[in-house]
Symmetry: C2
Subunit: 413 residues, 2 copies
């Protein structure tokens, strides 16, 4: 089922890139950490498919690392954005699209009183932390060890400065660890930030237990600190009212990015009325934060998800993929683990160990899929779009069946 | 010359906004700090003109607070962006547009070896500071007191935490103060960050002296620290090779945002080869950092500026505006000060004092202009686009002449 797939244009672009971009590429889309047959550069996309610079087609399970929710180049979303572009997008103030989007978000999110928009998820997580500090007059933020809440020196250790200052770690789904972190904060805790589910790259995903979510909410209430839900990864793929809505737990602030605009650049912070004063006291802005096209795109994305019951469709596609993978793996006697929401799939292999970066099965499996026109990241969770068809799933399972055969043969020891 | 200008739609949108957006608006485009006849919401834009939600037209001297360089909805730029949107924009990796844009920036910037892209100016200033810390193993960043280098807790004091930690202040154009700041750093300085020119809101702008720029460069070289040029405000309105190119001073890192993409969302960091290792060691990314459309827009913007000698055009328009304002002010005996690059104009009034927020002349003048269909911020520098015509300038000077008459009559004491 593999065919010869040209690489010349991608290789030429990589060589040109090495001359003018630091190390040829940076950030989460850096292909240097992927199997060598993965492309770095892409040329076009449509629905559930994308094409690399050499014109090789892939059924895509990455969705641009999350943003693509309704499929690439969704006509309704792109038309809504283009209409604003054709009238006026980046001006001296926002368009009415900002009000319409804020109204829609507040309407679909029962606990939220307001919405605030920026460009990166990091903009919103960093701002949420600043708001919590302003609102409480306290400094410490509790976060789960290993959790990713955006790329900022405020969140990441690594530099020579103590850039994680004011951060105290707990363990996801371990309420006792949150209590211990609160004790360690000695009354200085401003907020608990928590991902919608545990999605540390390379490790099994973990859905929150109701006991954990309710317990964290209660601890926040008891101690007068804020609960910040980082829904950048999960948002609009689990529940349109927010990923903790099915648990019945309301945060004080929640953050969306990625899927909110189906690829158009926008992030959002939702909050409660009592935090409006903190917003007024905490200046933040960006050159393009108030452009209308991404706001129109986000409005159209959310509306399309509602009108087509996109969540149900993602569940159906995700369940078919999960069951297909399990059957194929079982047939070849390959041990796998599938974790997290079915719409944000992660399959890891027994015998691989990401803690030592020893994941040969995952790398080989994803490389075999890439050769068969299926784009699946080896160790980062995937993302589903509603554009994935039954035929796409059937092709993916067929390709995966072959790839599991390769894994069974090569790693039989 | 004033006409009745409807306000009903803007007022209705503001009321709706107050219900779903914190305090109705936030950030640099918050109209609540402008004279009350300024609109908050806009509906369309074209060339040098924009229209508010009620359809009132303005000749625009704000250019979306900088991004609009070639006029709103520039056909060549918007077509370049739309072509990428119509093929594939936000995908699993960048398009070839990323390489083409990096090549162009490195080509027009003699000292730069690479380009790196993000979404906000803040993304790039914060990352530049992280790079400097990683590259030098030292923590302190020297910045001018009062200077704006982006909205981040890293840059801004104000929260309960000591968010400006690691920052040591100097005074723009005062080399002795830079030396004193270096002494205060006690060997821990990683970088000096400097704006292309001094543009603190509400105060006279100040161009750098050659002695200051050369002196800072020498101090950085002598002490093995990095010189970061924050060219977010000045970039592509002073010199296409960077705003310190006319001074003959090369930084180690420089930052563009705003005008680089004529309103399409992208920021850029330019650097030297020896910093590539620091980039590899300093992870940062964003959901939409690698989308192709804004990169195509930036390439088209820079190319159009080169092909039409846009800098010369901005100089000509800016000089005509400056001379027209001076003549009109003189004719009415109104004392004004015009400072900074002519393409980034700022006119302040003798008798006003921003340090006590007592600027009635500036507010009245800009309000009078708004009533006459001219959008000029009272205390923030303006921005010119190449789309401003001689007729626009003539209308502006005519309106300004009437407005100076009002100022002369009302503030005659």
């Amino acid at each position: 089922m593999t065919t010869e797939r040209p690489r010349t244009k991608d290789m030429a672009l990589r060589e040109r890139a090495r001359a003018v971009i630091p190390n040829g590429m940076y950030g989460h889309q850096n292909a240097s950490i992927l199997p060598p047959n993965f492309p770095q550069f892409f040329s076009r996309a449509d629905g559930a498919h994308l094409w690399d610079a050499d014109g090789n087609r892939y059924i895509d399970y990455m969705c641009a690392y999350g943003p693509i929710l309704l499929g690439y180049r969704h006509p309704g979303v792109d038309r809504a954005a283009a209409e604003v572009q054709d009238a006026g997008d980046c001006m001296n103030g926002p368009t009415e699209k900002m009000v319409e989007l804020a109204e829609l978000l507040v309407d679909i999110t029962p606990w939220a009183d307001w919405a605030w928009f920026a460009k990166n998820g990091t903009d919103a997580t960093v701002y949420a932390a600043s708001l919590a500090r302003t609102a409480t007059g306290r400094n410490a933020i509790l976060r789960a060890g290993g959790a990713y809440h955006g790329a900022s020196p405020t969140w990441m250790a690594g530099g020579p400065e103590d850039s994680a200052e004011g951060m105290i770690e707990y363990t996801f789904n371990d309420l006792a660890s949150v209590r211990a972190a609160l004790d360690a904060a000695e009354g200085a805790a401003a907020a608990v930030i928590v991902s919608a589910f545990r999605h540390d790259v390379g490790y099994d995903q973990e859905l929150p237990t109701v006991e954990f979510a309710q317990g964290v909410r209660d601890l926040c209430d008891t101690n007068g600190i804020l609960l910040i839900l980082d829904d950048v990864r999960g948002g609009f793929r689990i529940d349109m009212a927010g990923s903790w809505a099915p648990l019945g737990i309301d945060p004080d602030l929640s953050i969306y990015c990625k899927a909110i605009g189906n690829g158009h650049p926008i992030s959002a912070l939702l909050g409660r009325d009592h935090l409006s004063e903190a917003v007024a006291a905490t200046f933040a802005t960006g050159s393009y934060w108030f452009t209308g096209a991404p706001m129109a795109a986000a409005h159209a994305t959310i509306t399309a998800m509602q009108e087509t019951d996109g969540i149900a469709r993602l569940d159906r596609i995700g369940t078919a993929l999960r069951e297909g993978w399990q059957q194929a793996a079982d047939a070849h006697g390959v041990g796998i683990r599938q974790t997290g929401p079915v719409s944000i799939p992660l399959m890891l292999f027994d015998g691989d160990d990401f803690s030592t970066r020893d994941v040969p099965r995952a790398y080989r499996f994803s490389a075999e899929l890439a050769d068969r026109g299926v784009y699946l990241h080896p160790v980062h969770n995937g993302f589903l779009s509603t554009a994935i068809s039954d035929e796409d799933i059937a092709h993916t399972i067929e390709a995966s069946n072959e790839a599991f055969g390769v894994i069974a043969a090569e790693f039989s020891g």
